[in-house]
C-alpha cells in the first residue's frame, strides 16, 4: 500500500503548521520524517491517519489510488503508535492488544480462539509472551512501547504510522529497539512512516528520510543522499556536526582567508564536517594553523577541539584512533588543519529564517 500526499496545507488559526507538502511513500517502504521540534511532523502523521484534517481544498491524501482525504479514521485502517504509548490503562496487555479485534462488528470479528492465537503470536513477535496478564503500569517504557506496536499491528493495518516511537526511552534501549524495528519491518514489510527528531535514528532505520523545517519539506532522499548531498544549509546542519568557515570566492574556488587581501571578491560561508578535516604537523600553504584545546578519545574515533590561531574560531575534528595514535597529539600544541571536503551553498540554498 503506497501513500501519496499532494499539495497539503494545514493551518491552526493564523499559524501555518504545514505548507504545501507533497510526498510519496512506496509500498513496503520505511520512511522517516525528520525535523526539529515543532516543525509539523506529528501534524503530518495525524493527517495521514485521519486524526486531523488538512485545510479545506488544500490537498489530497491517497492510499494506493484510493483518495482518503475525506474518509474517517476507521475507514483508513492504519496502525498508529502514539508518542506516549497511550495504552488502555485499565486493561491488561492481552486485552490491550486484542482491543482492535474485539471491537469489530460480530460478522468480521474473529472467534475467541483466533483472537487469542493472534494476540499470542504478536506477544511473541514483540518478545513479551510472559507479560500478557500484566497491566501497562507494571511494564517498563520499552516494553510499553512494544505493546503499543503489537496493539497497532493486531488489526493488520494497511499502513503503520509511528510518532517518535522511541522518544521517551534512554539511549541504550532506543538503540536496541530501533534495530528491532528495522528487523520487524523486514519481516512484515508494511508501508511505514515514522517520526523522529534524532538524525541517527532516521539514518539507521529508514529507507528514505524526509527532512522538514517550519512546516516545509527541505529534502527527501536516502540516508546517504541526504548526508552526502544535503540540499541546503539547514539539512547540512541538521544531519550532522559541522564546522563553519568564512572565506572568499576566487575563480570558482573558496579561499579561507582572514587577511584583508582580495576584499573585492564575494564573501562565502563554507562548511566542513569534523571527519572531513585532516590534521598534520607540517605546515603547507593551504593549511590553517590551530591550537589543540581539548581531546576526547572514546571508542574508535578521537574528537579534537581546536582553536584557529588567526581568528580564535573553534574547529572540531574527528580522526581515526589509528591516526590519533600516530600523531601523538597533546593539548596546547599547534597543528595544521586541512579541509578536505568544503561545501558552499548558493544564496538560494541558504537557511530560510
Amino acid at each position: 500500500m503506497s501513500i501519496q500526499i499532494t499539495n497539503l496545507t494545514k493551518t491552526f488559526g493564523s499559524f501555518t503548521a504545514l505548507k504545501n507538502i507533497s510526498l510519496t511513500v512506496g509500498t513496503g517502504e520505511l520512511l522517516a520524517l525528520l525535523g526539529p521540534s515543532g516543525c509539523g511532523k506529528t501534524t503530518l502523521l495525524r493527517i495521514i491517519a485521519g486524526l486531523e484534517t488538512p485545510d479545506p481544498g488544500s490537498g489530497a491524501v491517497i492510499f494506493h489510488e484510493e483518495d482518503v482525504t475525506n474518509s474517517g479514521v476507521r475507514q483508513r485502517q492504519v496502525g498508529f503508535v502514539f508518542q506516549h504509548y497511550s495504552l488502555f490503562r485499565h486493561m491488561n496487555i492481552f486485552d490491550n492488544i486484542a482491543f482492535g479485534l474485539n471491537v469489530r462488528p460480530r460478522k468480521s470479528r474473529p472467534s475467541k480462539e483466533e483472537i487469542s492465537q493472534r494476540v499470542h503470536a504478536l506477544l511473541k513477535l514483540v518478545q513479551l509472551e510472559r507479560h500478557a496478564a500484566l497491566y501497562p503500569r507494571q511494564l517498563s517504557g520499552g516494553q510499553r512501547q512494544r505493546v503499543a506496536l503489537a496493539r497497532s499491528l493486531a488489526v493488520e493495518p494497511r499502513i503503520l504510522l509511528l510518532d517518535e516511537p522511541f522518544g521517551a526511552l534512554d539511549a541504550k534501549v532506543r538503540k536496541d529497539l530501533r534495530r528491532w524495528l528495522r528487523r520487524l519491518h523486514e519481516e512484515i514489510s508494511i508501508t511505514s512512516v515514522f517520526v523522529t527528531h534524532d538524525q541517527d535514528e532516521a539514518m539507521e532505520v529508514a529507507d528514505r528520510i524526509v527532512v522538514m523545517n517550519h512546516g516545509e519539506i527541505e529534502q527527501i532522499g536516502t540516508p546517504q543522499e541526504v548526508y552526502d548531498h544535503p540540499a541546503n544549509e539547514f539539512v547540512y546542519h541538521f544531519i550532522g556536526d559541522v564546522n563553519l568557515f568564512h572565506g572568499r570566492l576566487e575563480e570558482g574556488k573558496v579561499r579561507i582567508e582572514s587577511s584583508e587581501a582580495g576584499k573585492e571578491k564575494p564573501e562565502v560561508v563554507a562548511y566542513v564536517r569534523p571527519h572531513e578535516i585532516e590534521l598534520s604537523r607540517t605546515a603547507h600553504p593551504e593549511a590553517i594553523a590551530a591550537r589543540v584545546q581539548h581531546l576526547s578519545i572514546a571508542g574508535p574515533v578521537a574528537r579534537i577541539q581546536l582553536v584557529r590561531l588567526d581568528t580564535n574560531q573553534s574547529v572540531e575534528a574527528e580522526i581515526t584512533r589509528q591516526l590519533y595514535d600516530e600523531l601523538q597529539l597533546r593539548t596546547g600544541e599547534t597543528v595544521y588543519v586541512n579541509l578536505r571536503n568544503l561545501r558552499v551553498f548558493r544564496p538560494e540554498e541558504r537557511t530560510r529564517p
Binding site: 486524526l51 476507521r74 498508529f80 488502555f88 490503562r89 485499565h90 482491543f99 482492535g100 471491537v103 496493539r151
Partner: protein, 283 residues
C-alpha cells in the same frame, strides 16, 4: 539539639491545641446535634419511632422523595456525562459559557431557583395560561418538584468529571478510534472505566442533595399533604405542629442517609486514592 527539642515541643503544643479546638468544635456543632436528632426521635420509645413511619403522610413523603431522586439521578448521569464529554473532548465556541452555566445552580440561592420555575410555569407565569389550557400542572405538582431538584443538583456530576477527564486527555480515545472502535464502544470500553469512580462520587453527592433539598422544592411544592410533600418539607410541617417525635424520626431517616452517603464517599475516595497511587507508579 536543645533548641530543636523546644521547637518541636512548642509545635507539639500548637498542634495539640489546634486538634483539641477542632475536636471540640466538631463535638458541639456536629456530633451533639446528630445525637440530639436520634435522642428526640426515640424519646417516646422504639415503638413510637417506627410507628411514625406508618403514618400515611410520612409514607407518601418518603415515596415522593424516592420518586424524585430516582428520576433526577439518571437525568443527571446523562447530562453530567454529556456535558463533561463535550467540554473535555471537543473544541467549540461558547465552551467557557457552558462551564459557567454549569456552575450557576451553585451560585444561585435555592429559593431563587424555585421562584424561576414559578415564574415560568406558575398560573400567572410565562407559560401558565398555555399549560392551563392544555391541562398540564407543573407547579404544586411532581414535575415542578423534579425540575427544581434537577436544577439544584445538575452541577455535581459534571463538576466531578470535568477535571478528571481533562487530566486524562484524549489519547486513549484516539488510540481506540484508530483501532476501529465506534463512538459508543470508545465510551463504554475506554472512557467509562477510567471515570467510573469519579462518576459514582458525583452521583452520590447529587443523591444526597436531591434527597435533602428544601429551599427550591419548598417554593414549587405547595405543601399539599400526602401529595407534594417531600421528606424535608414533611419534617418542617410536623415540627411546626409540635409533633417533635415524628419530626425527629423523619429527620433521623435523612441523617442515616447522610451517614451512609459519607461512608460510601469515604470508600470511593480510598479506592480512587489507591488507583491514583497505582497510576503514579505508571509514570
Amino acid at each position: 539539639m536543645k533548641t530543636m527539642t523546644t521547637a518541636s515541643n512548642e509545635q507539639g503544643w500548637t498542634a495539640r491545641l489546634l486538634i483539641a479546638a477542632a475536636v471540640l468544635f466538631l463535638l458541639v456543632f456536629l456530633l451533639l446535634p446528630l445525637t440530639a436528632v436520634f435522642v428526640e426521635a426515640f424519646r417516646k420509645g422504639v415503638g413510637a419511632y417506627f410507628k411514625s413511619f406508618t403514618d400515611p403522610y410520612a409514607r407518601s413523603a418518603i415515596k415522593l422523595t424516592l420518586i424524585v431522586t430516582a428520576t433526577v439521578i439518571p437525568l443527571n448521569l446523562l447530562f453530567g456525562i454529556t456535558a463533561s464529554w463535550a467540554i473535555t473532548k471537543f473544541e467549540f465556541r461558547g465552551k467557557g459559557l457552558l462551564l459557567t452555566l454549569i456552575d450557576l445552580p451553585f451560585a444561585v440561592s435555592p429559593i431563587v431557583a424555585g421562584l424561576i420555575f414559578v415564574l415560568l410555569f406558575g398560573s400567572r407565569g410565562w407559560f401558565g395560561p398555555w399549560l392551563k389550557a392544555h391541562d398540564v400542572q407543573i407547579i404544586f405538582a411532581l414535575p415542578g418538584i423534579i425540575l427544581a431538584t434537577l436544577f439544584v443538583t445538575f452541577p455535581f456530576v459534571a463538576r466531578e468529571l470535568i477535571p478528571l477527564m481533562q487530566s486524562q486527555g484524549t489519547e486513549e480515545e484516539q488510540a481506540a478510534l484508530v483501532l476501529g472502535a465506534g463512538g459508543w464502544q470508545i465510551f463504554r470500553k475506554v472512557t467509562l472505566p477510567n471515570i467510573k469512580w469519579g462518576l459514582l462520587y458525583g452521583l452520590i453527592l447529587c443523591n444526597a442533595r436531591a434527597i435533602g433539598e428544601f429551599g427550591a422544592v419548598s417554593v414549587v411544592s405547595g405543601h399539599i399533604r400526602g401529595q407534594t410533600n417531600t421528606i424535608p418539607l414533611h419534617i418542617e410541617i410536623l415540627y411546626n405542629e409540635y409533633n417533635f417525635a415524628a419530626a425527629f424520626a423523619m429527620a433521623s431517616l435523612l441523617t442515616l442517609l447522610a451517614v451512609a452517603t459519607l461512608a460510601i464517599r469515604s470508600f470511593i475516595e480510598w479506592k480512587t486514592r489507591r488507583e491514583q497511587a497505582a497510576a503514579l507508579g505508571e509514570i
